[in-house]
């Protein structure tokens, strides 16, 4: 296990390097002179030359990349052109809000989606199954933007229960988390259902039943546990989807998160900021997938890490 862990961590190195390379090259793949774009139309020649030197753009590409990685490793992602603050400071301001929202939505999606999937797969009533799947279809089809506004209209305006644009505390987290979780919960419900149905057809389920185990134990000890492996994979993938969805939810609920930071940085052509956000989010995603891989072993002891 430890050897495996060590190897996975070593393997992370090229992945993260790939990510830094992609983030770095973004600046150079953009059409036009990035400096001219950053400084706008009124910039003088001296300003352009100075910024080019400050950003190290007058050096060969390889040198620039080495410098970028070297500084990133020291936790220096440069200075935002728009706010003139350190990129890392801006990101760490926004990080908690997005992480809180994403985790809350993930928990919500799992705790709603998985049980619905299990119920749909194991129920004897066609109506329950159909209702569960219709619910899932609804959750999947509603655009987050629209469902967010509907939640606001009902829970904040009609009932007056929850705030709309507050950004701190648990109460402020509920509506955005629900809006963000809905599509993910729907996907998880559908995957869980088909995965449980698949497992229920296996020989060992028949064995469990024929040795006289009560159905509840058959389902929960044997079927669901085994069925959760593909679900876990999807959870890992959904994490990326949630980060992307956060962009919209953060706009609707006016939450100061990474998604909005990225969008406003792109609109303002704030390249260091865009690079920084891309880097942080990508690294986060890499680590989420690593932890998903590690969790397989807890669900299925047969999976050996070698």
């Amino acid at each position: 296990m430890q050897a495996y862990l060590a190897r996975r961590f070593v393997l992370l190195v090229p992945t993260v390097f790939g990510v830094t390379l992609a983030a770095f090259l973004m600046l150079h793949l953009t059409p036009g002179d990035p400096v001219a774009i950053m400084l706008g139309e009124f910039a003088s020649k001296t300003d352009v030359t100075r910024l080019r030197r400050d950003l190290g753009l007058d050096q060969p590409l390889v040198m620039q990349y080495v410098r970028f990685v070297e500084r990133a490793a020291r936790g220096d992602l440069g200075t935002s052109i728009r706010s003139r603050r350190a990129v890392t400071a801006e990101i760490s301001d926004r990080f908690p809000s997005t992480i809180g929202l994403t985790l809350a939505a993930m928990l919500l999606a799992i705790s709603v989606g998985v049980p619905i999937g299990v119920i749909a797969a194991t129920t004897k009533h066609v109506a329950v199954d159909s209702a569960a799947m219709a619910f899932a279809l609804l959750g999947l089809s509603m655009p987050t933007f629209w469902s967010g506004l509907l939640l606001i209209l009902f829970f904040s305006l009609k009932l007056g229960w929850l705030p709309i644009t507050e950004s701190e505390g648990i109460r402020a987290l509920i509506l955005p988390a629900v809006a963000l979780a809905a599509p993910a919960a729907a996907v998880l419900a559908r995957i869980t259902r088909s995965s449980v149905l698949e497992v229920l057809r296996q020989e060992y389920i028949r064995t469990a039943r024929s040795k006289g185990l009560v159905e509840r134990l058959v389902i929960y000890r044997h079927a669901v546990r085994n069925a959760l492996i593909p679900v876990l994979t999807i959870v890992g993938l959904q994490f990326g989807g949630l980060l992307a969805g956060a962009v919209i939810v953060e706009s609707v609920f006016a939450r100061p998160g990474l998604g909005r930071l990225a969008v406003s940085a792109i609109l303002a052509r704030d390249f260091p900021m865009v690079q920084g956000v891309v880097l942080v989010v990508a690294v986060m995603y890499v680590f989420v997938n690593l932890s998903v891989d590690l969790m397989y072993g807890f669900l299925d002891p047969r999976i050996r890490y070698q």
Binding site: R84, D93, R94, S156, L157, I164, V252, L261
Partner: protein, 529 residues
């Protein structure tokens, strides 16, 4: 004994009643305290008045800073930080007497030296000021002639100068703070205004606190500090969320999007102030260096072809006015003869001009010239009212056999493309307080750098614009502006479409907030119940 007791009881009862039910209204002073919450869809780029190019920062600086001269609620110039001023006969020497006992938020004293440092910083090339630098642009030198006396020498007579001084971005900044904070000044600005900077939470809110020392307000507000304890700007990108948050009471003041105005009005709950935007809200601007709009007849034809009434009714729900020239009625210098002087809706005239220019109906009714169909693309920004207006214009032109395509770009990109002249035509709108805006839009020196997006070079027009800036006599200036408006309409550089009316809703709990004619809410007298 009993009588004493009874009397005591009555007195006690009276006191208790007074405590329980204090005499309301009659003796009520506006209460100090509470939070006024404003909202913006855009986050300020910086709170440095001299470095900003964002409109929202300009609005915030109305509360954080003071200018030398300001405008009262009728739009007349009145004392700001300068208690009086005079101009030499040649218009080159401006002398200001400053108010005494004014302090910056950092405790330093406001004086002539501060004015000098502030203006010199605004015009210094290294400040790279997009707006403030231009406002003080004509200043050749600033001389301190006494502790509270300052003289500005201009390079040439410049009639919009007094108006420029009232712009919030011309506020006087604290020299000490500018020097000590350097680049960080934009995140913790220091001025002399009724509110001082407290906190900026990125993408969330900006908090200003009441300035308890504020005694130097302009004449149109009460003397002394504002009543509200805090002034907060919430940053809420989505219109729909802004409206919902306002209805739930999370915001004090809201400029409502046109789609929600009638509904909010119908609730009858809120105080409402309206004002016509200071600037033309939307116009189709032609690039005269590109086909097919290099032909004046074609440009004029489109002015006759487009019916503005339905554009206004559908895109703005009728909440505004049709536009006919480069200036709206809400800006001084507007010539009211323009509505009849400019081309109105006249399909026959449009077709006639198009035919004269060689565009004749071909296959399927599509206009053709030299075997090429009449097709062009306009560039617009992703703004709801713009998009809807574009679609209506598109449908109207299709009836003439003209194919108009719409391409949307994010605002910064759009400006860059317009400056480079990549467009055949495009949508634009502006907000400004003085008619000097015509210099930015039409003087040929602003082609490729400023806002002269029609790329139209005409020495005669340039000369008129220059005259409008150096003429000191206001009546003569009015005549020059009239001629400029007529000339621009003659050259059909734009199809002006509409100017929107702003609907500002205020919560019933807010008392005494006033709308300034320059389009912001004066909050010095506002108190919260």
């Amino acid at each position: 004994m009993v009588a004493w007791r009874r009397l005591a009881r009555i007195v006690l009862l009276g006191v208790a009643l007074l405590v329980l039910f204090p005499l309301p209204r009659l003796y009520a002073q506006p209460r100090v305290g509470g939070e006024l919450v404003l909202v913006s869809g855009q986050e300020p780029d910086t709170l440095d008045a001299q470095k900003t190019s964002a409109a929202v920062t300009g609005t915030l600086m109305r509360y954080l800073g003071d200018t030398l001269v300001t405008k009262d609620l009728k739009g007349n110039y009145t004392a700001g930080l300068a208690k009086s001023w005079s101009v030499s006969r040649d218009g080159l020497t401006w002398t200001f007497q400053l108010k005494d006992n004014v302090k910056f938020h950092d405790g330093t004293r406001f004086n002539a030296q501060a004015v000098k440092v502030s203006i010199e910083r605004a015009v210094a090339p290294e400040t790279k000021s997009p707006i403030a630098g231009a406002l003080f642009g004509p200043v050749a030198s600033v001389q301190v002639t006494g502790e509270l006396a300052v003289v500005l020498k201009l390079k040439e007579p410049f009639s919009p100068f007094l108006d420029n001084l009232t712009d919030p971005r011309a506020m006087i900044v604290s020299p000490q703070a500018v020097q000590q904070l350097g680049d960080r000044f934009g995140r913790s600005p220091v001025g002399t205004g009724p509110f001082k900077f407290q906190e900026w939470r990125s993408a969330d809110r900006i908090i200003f606190a009441r300035n308890p020392d504020y005694q130097w307000g302009p004449s149109y507000v009460h003397a002394g500090p504002p009543y509200a304890e805090r002034l907060v700007l919430r940053i809420v990108p989505e219109d729909a969320s802004q409206v919902a948050a306002f209805e739930r009471g999370e915001l004090s003041i809201l400029t409502a999007p046109p789609t929600d105005v009638k509904r909010l009005q119908a609730t009858g709950k809120y105080q409402l102030s309206t004002f016509l935007r200071k600037g033309v809200g939307l116009f189709l601007e032609f690039n005269v260096t590109r086909e097919p709009f290099s032909d004046l007849r074609v440009r004029r034809a489109l002015n006759y072809a487009i019916e503005k009434k339905s554009v206004l009714a559908i895109a703005l729900e009728g909440l505004g006015e049709e536009a006919y020239g480069p200036l709206p009625p809400s800006i001084w210098g507007y010539w009211d003869g323009i509505t009849s002087y400019a081309p109105g809706y006249d399909p026959a005239q449009a077709k006639k001009l198009l035919a004269e220019a060689g565009w004749r109906p071909g296959e399927g009714g599509v206009l053709q010239k030299d075997g090429k169909p009449f097709a062009f693309t306009i560039f617009i920004a992703p703004i709801d009212t713009w998009r809807r207006s574009a679609q209506i214009v598109q449908a109207q032109l299709r009836a003439y056999g003209i194919q108009m395509d719409i391409q949307t770009f994010e605002f910064g990109t759009l400006l860059a493309k317009f400056r480079a002249g990549e467009q055949q035509g495009g949508f634009m709108g502006y907000t400004y307080t003085s008619p000097d805006i015509v210099q930015l839009w039409f003087h040929s020196s602003n082609i490729g750098t400023g806002l002269a997006f029609s790329h139209y070079k005409d020495p005669a027009l340039d000369k008129m614009i220059e005259a409008s800036r150096t003429e000191v006599d206001q009546q003569k200036r009015l005549a020059i502006y009239r001629d400029i408006q007529k000339y621009i309409v003659d050259k059909a550089l734009w199809v002006p479409l509409w100017t929107n009316t702003n609907y500002v809703f205020i919560q019933p709990s807010v008392q005494g907030a006033k709308l300034h004619p320059d389009g912001f809410v004066v909050v010095n007298d506002a108190s919260l119940r």
